[in-house]
């Protein structure tokens, strides 16, 4: 670690994105801005990878004394893991942004949210967590504000409600323990609960407030309403960072409340158990399960590529929350692995959608079609992302989902495991729908001149595609890293094979056998006669000649039968519920304003008289 002295690791990772973001915003010239931005995103990746051994063995701590508070940051193996995933997706986003957005504004606020997320991962005390949390929310909000006011306000209000409930919880912790540092606060809280210094309801509220804050950012079902709008109405390459990493801040928050603050862990037991599981975590598991099912069903029925990816992202994070809720070693290990694989394949998906929208300018499925020939490299990347998201064995997505299955079933949570099955089938369904609608079938005439995605975007995609394959074939690599900060009882036999108490998964042997199988099938294929290539429209149409503009595809509402089967549930939507709530508050505000400040000086004097009366009565008593 000679290159970067230890004292500079944390400040460099934390502040270089913001500083370069501001520079990129100031020097708003075409190529200078891009270079500055990419450097800003590259610094954290390089610094973190250099600090790997130091961080994974010991800890690097760093404090900023701002007078009002002491902001304390620590880089240990847990924060290194999350920060590195964030930085990796960050650099991919930077490459993506340099081809999709030409504005200093986007660079400033995307890199500001980058700093915010890094701060959240490295923070060691509540106030710095809250500060960087607000910074992250504000950065990502400004990215959406530019494109759609309604969605951005919806996103901001929900995240600010989350942030302020966190502040309330921090205040309540500070009130009882007098300290803001994670470790000390949790120790004292644990002691207090033991000696009965603090009531159980008090601790439950702290726990609930924290989970509300982190639930909003992770997009747990009732609070996920902002996700489709915020992810959709945004520069798609930034959304790869937004949905890939910012949702992980919510997950990181869950980890803090569940693990880093042992007192709350201790308090869990005080919350009692619900036939064998801790009530607290059981609720989280079910919240995750509901998120997976609801979000996946909604994703399947979407017509817009961005909405589909947004709901799918909410669903995938639901898996992580579910696994954290299951709360046994294997499941939590699976959750951490899924954090990695989700960031990779979801980031890749969003970059692909960025390329698609950049080149075709269209976002609805019915306008796409037959792009496989036109954008071959992006298509290859899409295949990798599809295989990984659907959880096909050689890919990273499968390894993490497999661990979550094992964990859930071992922890005797059968129904939750059942939802995982349903969720992964739905994931398979909407991923194939994406493949079909965008890449195959007849190409609409106005997409004929579509060119391949620009080079920087392709570089970004490859950065995210490689880990998908690497961690798919060698899950041991990632699990060894995770075992460094959690004692998941997943044994790592070798790079390629991981085994849990109940089952093993040797990725290498599965891949080898798959290659052998493909070889055999290929042999049979070659054995047959060679095939003549024909045009897409030349199909068995029972005789009638098919012309070019005759549309031979069913891209619009591909899953209408499923929608019919679910129409009972689709009547209710959280979105409409929140809209009505918002209008209610605005009308209440109007009523209050008209009622109280009604302009008549006499009524104002009556208000004074009433207060006088109260004081007089109290004075006399």
């Amino acid at each position: 670690m000679t290159l970067v002295p230890e004292a500079y690791v944390v400040p460099l990772t934390l502040f270089s994105p913001l500083v370069f973001g501001v520079l990129a915003w100031l020097f708003d010239r075409d190529w200078i801005r891009e270079i500055l931005g990419v450097i800003g995103a590259a610094v954290p990746v390089t610094v973190l990878s250099l600090a790997y051994e130091k961080a994974s063995s010991g800890t690097i701590s760093y404090t900023i004394d701002t007078g009002v508070f002491k902001l304390h940051f620590v880089l240990n193996s847990l924060s290194w893991y999350f920060a590195f995933i964030g930085a990796l997706v960050g650099i991919a986003m930077a490459f993506g942004l340099s081809s999709t957005s030409r504005r200093g504004y986007d660079w400033l606020f995307s890199l500001m949210s980058f700093t915010g997320v890094m701060g959240v991962f490295l923070a060691r005390d509540f106030v710095s967590l809250f500060l960087f949390w607000e910074l992250m929310t504000f950065g990502s909000f400004m990215m959406v504000l530019r494109r759609n006011r309604h969605e951005s306000l919806k996103y901001f209000v929900l995240s600010v409600i989350g942030a302020y409930s966190m502040l309330l919880a921090i205040g309540m912790v500070y009130a009882k323990t007098g300290t803001l540092d994670y470790a000390m606060a949790s120790q004292t809280l644990l002691l207090l609960t033991k000696m009965g210094g603090v009531s159980k309801a008090y601790v439950d509220t702290i726990f609930a407030l924290f989970l509300l804050a982190f639930g909003v950012k992770a997009g747990v079902v009732p609070l996920h309403v902002w996700a489709p709008g915020a992810y959709g109405e945004n520069d798609q390459s930034y959304t790869s960072f937004f949905s890939g990493v910012l949702s992980k801040a919510g997950v990181y928050g869950f980890i803090i409340t569940l693990f880093v603050m042992p007192s709350l862990y201790g308090i869990y037991f005080a919350m009692g158990t619900f036939h064998g599981h801790l009530t607290g975590t059981y609720l989280i598991a079910w919240a995750g399960a509901v998120t997976v099912v609801v979000a996946s069903f909604l994703a399947v029925l979407q017509e817009d590529i961005r909405k589909l990816l947004a709901y799918s992202s909410v669903g995938q994070v639901g898996y992580i929350i579910l696994a954290l809720g299951v709360f046994n070693g294997v499941a939590v290990g699976g959750a951490m692995f899924h954090v990695l694989s989700h960031a990779m394949f979801k980031g890749l998906f969003w970059l692909i959608s960025a390329a698609l929208i950049l080149r075709t300018g269209k976002t609805r499925f019915e306008d796409f079609g037959g792009l496989a020939e036109k954008m071959p490299v992006t298509f290859a990347m899409a295949l990798i992302a599809v295989l990984s998201l659907a959880g096909i064995p050689p890919m990273a997505g499968f390894a993490s989902k497999w661990l979550i299955y094992e964990g859930a079933i071992q922890a005797h949570m059968p129904l939750v495991a059942g939802t995982i099955f349903l969720g992964s089938a739905l994931a398979f369904a909407y991923v194939v729908r994406f493949l079909y609608a965008v890449w195959f079938g007849q190409r609409p005439s106005d997409l004929d001149d579509v060119r391949e995605a620009p080079l920087p975007l392709l570089v970004g995609m490859t950065i995210l595609a490689i880990p998908n394959i690497v961690f798919g074939i060698a899950p041991g690599l990632a699990v060894r890293l995770i075992n460094r900060f959690f004692n998941t009882n997943i044994t790592v036999n070798s790079y390629y094979s991981i085994s849990t108490p109940t089952g093993t998964y040797n990725a290498l042997s599965v891949t080898l056998v798959l290659i052998v199988g493909l070889a055999i099938a290929g042999l049979i294929y070659i054995y047959g006669a060679n095939a003549r290539k024909i045009k897409v429209t030349n199909t068995y149409q029972s005789g009638n000649p098919v012309t070019e503009e005759y549309n031979l595809v069913i891209r619009r509402n591909f899953y209408r039968p499923l929608a019919e089967a679910l129409d009972f549930w689709l009547k209710y939507s959280w979105d409409r519920f929140y809209e009505r709530l918002a209008n209610l508050t605005e009308d209440f505000a109007d009523w209050l304003r008209e009622g109280f400040y009604n302009g008549n000086v006499q009524s104002y004097s009556w208000y004074l008289a009433i207060i006088l009366l109260i004081l007089a009565i109290w004075g006399v008593l």
């Binding site: 701002t66 007078g67 009002v68 409930s165 009130a175 000086v601 004097s605 207060i611 109290w618």
Partner: protein, 496 residues
């Protein structure tokens, strides 16, 4: 230059106010230059006083007429007063420069006199050590405020002034009754001596007296049911005057309220008064934020936001812990800076674009980029985004109030500030992404420099709040720690 020269703080504006008619002969511009000169001088004196108080660490006691208190009236310029008199002077100096292009209605010499007297009243209220003197300064501020509100000679201005007069009149009369009762039972008007005698007054008199004092000041400090006059007065007054209202006139009322409340901390029924103040403060924040939600006029919207932030300060001051008071004072400083910037920019837009309706702000980012940028920074700071100054004080206020067991009130305040975020961000969206008519307006240099200075100040406090926090801490202890206050005032041995 021993302490006695600190009385210049009060004397300078008074004398120069009465020289204004002489300058009138030289023409309108001369008056405004004169006004800026005087406020600059006042800022110099205040800076000197600030330096002496903060270097020696001891407050400056100015004995009127050489009589030692409690017989003579004394000005007690402690840590808080030194800091805030400097803020009053600086804000008045900025607003004097702003008055150049924003105040055009005819009798500018009357405007200059009222301007100086308003500054005098606020400085007096902050510096005085005697409750009747406090009443006199409060009346000076109120009367100049009534006149300045009605200055624009439009129907709305007169209406706003009338409301302010009626409510202010009732408030000050009851304040006087309170003084009468307090004087009747203690025989002294000096704050330090009152603090000593607070415990010995018979409960009913002190309860009624203190509650009336608090009532009178609450009208001036815009707490919930009593602040009905404030939105109209802020909207109708000329732009620089509104900035002065929200920056220090309200603060003077709040400081007096806090000073009196903490003076009588040994009196009976004291904690009820605190609980009442906390409830009124929370309701202020709640009502003001919600009323601002669907405002069509930006100036009135920012007036509501200022009232809600004042409610937040009142909550911090009445939480009853040293940390709370310090956080409240820190918020006062931040709020003064942010609100001056906001009213300066909104006023400037009102002058240049003609009217402060929301439609004039659409596309401001391209029409007046510098003003739009300053307004955005001010709005973001007011919302409490990190890296801006209000974030720190708001966090401390919430933590302090929860620590004192007011978790529910903190919850209501946070819910209200979510609403605040909504209407400010709507404004930012209309400014930067709204459609515009294509005319680019040239912005004046002096106001640009003031706005930039304030923006840099906000960012400085936001990024590194340490120096300002230590200032606020010492000022806060000055209010909260009454025993030190009594020790500093050289009381003559004469008892009642």
């Amino acid at each position: 230059m021993n302490g006695q020269y600190a009385s210049l703080l009060v004397a300078l504006p008074l004398i120069s106010a009465f020289f204004v008619p002489l300058i009138k002969g030289l023409g309108g511009r001369a008056i405004k230059y004169y006004l800026t000169l005087i406020t600059a001088l006042q800022a110099g004196v205040a800076a000197w006083v600030f330096k002496t108080v903060y270097t020696t660490g001891k407050p400056i006691i100015v004995m009127a007429g050489g009589w030692r208190p409690p017989v003579g009236i004394d000005l007690y310029i402690g840590h808080f007063a030194a800091l805030f008199v400097l803020i009053v002077a600086l804000v008045s100096f900025f607003m004097a420069i702003f008055s150049f292009d924003s105040v055009s209605t005819e009798p500018t010499d009357k405007y200059a006199m009222l301007f100086l007297l308003l500054m005098l009243g606020a400085t007096g209220m902050i510096a005085t050590g005697d409750i009747f003197n406090l009443f006199v300064f409060m009346e000076i501020t109120s009367i100049t405020a009534y006149a300045l509100t009605a200055y624009n000679k439009t129907g709305e201005a007169a209406e706003a002034a009338m409301k302010y007069i009626v409510l202010g009149g009732i408030g000050s009369s009851f304040f006087l009754i309170g003084i009468a009762l307090i004087y009747g039972s203690t025989g002294t008007l000096n704050m330090a001596q009152l603090a000593q005698l607070a415990g010995s007054i018979n409960p009913t008199v002190i309860k009624v007296g203190l509650s009336l004092l608090v009532f009178g000041l609450a009208v001036e400090a815009e707490l919930f049911p009593l602040n009905a006059w404030a939105p109209d007065a802020y909207q109708a007054a000329p732009h620089p005057v509104t900035a002065m209202f929200s920056a220090f006139v309200v603060k003077a009322g709040l400081y007096a309220l806090a000073r009196l409340v903490y003076l009588f901390s040994h009196a009976a029924g004291w904690d009820f008064i605190l609980k009442l103040l906390v409830i009124m403060a929370t309701l202020t924040v709640f009502a003001a934020e919600f009323s601002a939600l669907r405002q069509r006029d930006v100036k009135r919207m920012i007036a509501y936001s200022s009232i809600s932030q004042v409610g937040l300060i009142a909550l911090a001051l009445s939480v009853g812990s040293q940390l709370g008071v310090q956080a409240g004072v820190f918020h006062m400083i931040n709020h003064a800076v942010v609100k001056t910037l906001l009213f300066l920019t909104v006023g400037y837009v009102g002058v240049k674009v003609g009217g402060t309706g929301i439609e004039n702000f659409s596309g401001l980012g391209r029409k007046m980029p510098l003003t739009a940028f300053a307004l955005t920074v001010g709005a973001l700071a007011a919302v409490g985004i990190p890296l801006f100054n209000i974030f720190w004080s708001k966090v401390w206020i919430i933590i302090a109030s929860i620590e004192q067991g007011y978790a529910w009130e903190a919850g209501v305040v946070l819910a209200a500030s979510v609403v605040e975020a909504v209407y400010y961000l709507r404004l930012i969206h209309t400014m930067w992404f709204g459609g515009w008519d294509g005319i680019r307006i040239r912005e004046s240099l002096p106001l640009g420099t003031i706005a930039l200075f304030l923006v840099l100040l906000i960012l400085a406090i936001g990024v590194y709040p340490n120096p300002f926090w230590t200032l606020a801490k010492s000022a806060g202890t000055d209010i909260f720690n009454v025993s030190r206050y009594i020790a500093n005032v050289p009381l003559m041995g004469v008892g009642p």
